[in-house]
Amino acid sequence: MSLIDLATHAGARSATPPSLILEVKDLVTHFPVRNGIVKAVDGVSLTLERGKTLCIVGESGSGKSVTARSILQIVDAPGRIVSGAMMLHRADGTSVDLAKFNPRGREIRAVRGREIAMIFQEPMSSLSPVHTVGDQMMEVLRLHLDMGKKQARARCIELLKQVEIPDVERAIDRYTFEFSGGMRQRVMIAMALACNPSLLIADEPTTALDVTTQAEILDLIRRLQQQHGMAVMFITHDMGVVAEIADDVLVMHRGKVMESGTVDAIFHSPQNDYTRMLIGSVLKLEQKAEIRLRRSPIADETLPVLQVRNLSMQFGSGKNALKAVDDVSLTVKPGETLGIVGESGSGKTTMGRCLLRIYDPSAGAIDYRRPDGSTLDLVKADKETLKACRREIRMIFQDPVGSLNPRMTVAQIVGEPLLVNRIAAGKQLDDRVADLLQQVGLEPSWRERYPHAFSGGQRQRIGIARAIALNPRVIVADEATSALDVSLRSQMLDLMMGLQDKLGLSYVFISHDIGVIRYMCDRVAVMYRGRVVETGSAEQVCNSPTHAYTQALLSAIPRPDPRARSIHRRHRYTAA
């Protein structure tokens, strides 16, 4: 087919190309820092074969990206490859050791983008905003296959067609920021495939995308891999994705390889403890949490603590107005957890923020039932009442970094609400803070520390401590766990549910992660383009969704089970 013809060049593909493409042996990459060195990659060995997909999984800081970048010798300064060999076996039978090349030299540059291509996590920032898509793509072609302008353009159009970019003729002269995230990732892929590389390295290519888009991209990569018969090295932290696409899996932790083997072996008979823990915590999120099993169901007649009626919220005005929340109605009963699920842009976060009047809704009502049984409409509440209510309705933020003021100690952060509401001060305040920290499973003696001294999970606990400081009745948790590694998620959720029982909390739990919802929530509302398309009990929505969109959403979620690969059977939802 034409791709190959175009790609043909002197000494190109011999009749039977070698199946082995890249062998990495004992790769060691160090990051020298002031007080020593960080061993980002510590003796990693792996092999990549034609037409096969190797998934590298690991939690943040496991060194999986650095491994990938080491192969192309594009590790950010001051990192450098200390030892190890990276044998690249060429189609013509020759092989070279990439590790020997000078990182700025001509040889390695000839490999980059030509024989080994790479795509990155952030499709938005990984492309230059001021150059057209075509410009950036043709560059590769002209560089490696020294094509003429016309030829290169033709090839780009073809590639963009392959990655299913609509209206290619115009798209090629567009700028990247005019595309959606998914489309940008497609562009990246097209660019990577431009010279028919024998190896594609994909560094978390779908992490920034919605599940449905992710599924599309995964499909695309799979299909192109078959077409081009290239090897794929896929780096991710999402076990679901791994189970979905991997042939072989390599589990990394702290720069070392924990375990490697076929995907089936890893999932169904993991040898290494870390692997087991990892798999375990993933599978855990596949069903309802034990804690909830023990709970007695909430009686139907109990009056809702929060009742949202026909809430609408729009940004901007006039023709470019955006209806972020469109006529939404919800109820939250005491002690229950309402999940709001949806993809990015579905308005779920806005929805949550409206509940606390961070945004002022443009229409509708939020009836809040005070402890004394009286109800009031938060939308109309004046400053004082609002302040009072905000003591009882609290929030947990998505970003454990941005939501904690780096310039205040933990004690100050957690104590702030108590202080400004004149609930506690001085010694008393100190004790209360200590107690709160204990409740969220943090060492009380750490309260003089600053946020930067804590890990992501610990920070999120601090956030929770701040939320419960005022004994609230409702907590709005916005993507509370999505920034955390999978192994931490269930812990975090358990903690929250524990507190729920202890303090009789109600949660409004906003997430894009069905797994988390299923695990945590009693009832679920599915949002799509600002509207609630379906509400119901978690079980019902997760297992037998009625609305077409929900079905599509669910079908696009990769299952962490290589034996039940499903997303290729997914059905797409096109808004009526």
Partner: protein, 328 residues
């Protein structure tokens, strides 16, 4: 886009009027008026003005009228028939006076600009790419030195050295033979031969600060993911540097245009005085000092207009080179 430009242009009108009034008041603020200053100047070389003529002059220039009247007379002259009035000192129409100086001012400013960018760009990029290297430290130090030396000091010393040690003719932009000669190759050479001192002095501080700007911009851009992408494509470091980070780091540079225009007039005042360059700056200073109302007023007005236009132009340019601004 057009609406934006139109809006900006509209905004200029009121601010210019305010400025013009402000300017007028400011120039009037100092005690005395043009005539007293005139007398005083002559007195400097113990020359005496006939006592009767002083009053005479005042009456003739309408300095005996209240300020607001003078202002209205002036501004209406400008608005109604673009007449900026007569310079008290030279008895010449202000506009002629200013334009007489403009040509050379332009030459000087633009050659300075070229020098500035010519040096600042590469050096800035270098010290960004080689961050915390010896070279970077040297560059940093030099650029700070450039920022630190008062331009007039530099001017005076350079001038002395050039004149006394090397016998180079300083002051002015042409040598005797060429001052009023028609433009010719010889004249251009002569100009270049005189240009270098002022250019060096004027460029010194500007270059220094631009190097800093450039360095900062580059550092911001250098560790953006798209650089890695480009590297992963197999581009050579240089090619990649020029095409991506440099390209983006340039955008802030474009905003320098907004100060470039007004600098045509006011920027080089002090240096121009020391080197007695026939540019607009000294004339402006003179007019301010001698309270030559209309001349000074026109100058200030001109400068403000240039500033506003300059910032407008730079915004438009920015929109042109940066699609993000253009398309969103």
């Amino acid at each position: 886009m057009l609406r934006f430009i139109a809006k900006r242009l509209l905004w200029m009108v009121p601010s210019l009027i305010v400025v013009s009034f402000l300017a007028f008041v400011l120039i009037q603020l100092p005690p005395g008026d043009y005539v007293t200053t005139f007398i005083a100047t002559l007195a400097a070389s113990n020359e005496v003005v006939d006592q009767t003529t002083a009053a005479d002059l005042r009456a003739r220039f309408g300095l005996d009228q209240p300020m607001i009247i003078q202002y209205l007379k002036w501004i209406s002259g400008i608005l109604l028939h673009g007449d900026f009035g007569l310079s008290f000192e030279w008895q010449q129409p202000v506009s002629n006076l200013i334009w007489e100086r403009m040509a050379l001012t332009l030459v000087l400013t633009f050659s300075t600009l070229l020098a500035t960018w010519g040096i600042a760009l590469p050096v800035g990029v270098y010290s960004a790419v080689k961050k915390y290297s010896v070279g970077d430290y040297v560059v940093t130090f030099l650029s700070f030195l450039g920022l630190a030396i008062p331009s007039f000091l530099l001017a005076l010393v350079l001038m002395y050295i050039a004149a006394v040690e090397f016998g180079q003719e300083v002051g002015g932009l042409f040598s005797e033979a060429y001052v009023n000669a028609p433009w010719s190759f010889g004249k251009v050479l002569d100009l270049l031969h005189h240009l270098w001192i002022p250019v060096i002095i004027l460029a010194a501080s500007g270059t220094a600060s631009l190097i800093r700007v450039m360095r900062a911009n580059m550092l911001d851009e250098l560790n953006k993911p798209y650089v890695t992408t480009a590297r992963a494509k197999g581009l050579s470091e240089f090619h990649l540097l020029v095409k991506y980070p440099l390209r983006l780091a340039l955008n802030p540079f474009i905003s320098t245009i907004s100060w470039l225009l007004p600098n045509l007039v006011s920027g080089s005042i002090i240096v121009a005085i020391v080197l007695s360059l026939p540019t607009a700056g000294p004339l402006l200073l003179q007019s301010l000092m001698s309270q030559d109302m209309y001349l000074a007023g026109a100058f200030v007005l001109l400068i403000c207009a240039l500033t506003l236009i300059g910032s407008l132009i730079s915004d438009i340019l920015l929109a042109l080179v940066d699609p993000r601004i253009r398309l969103e």
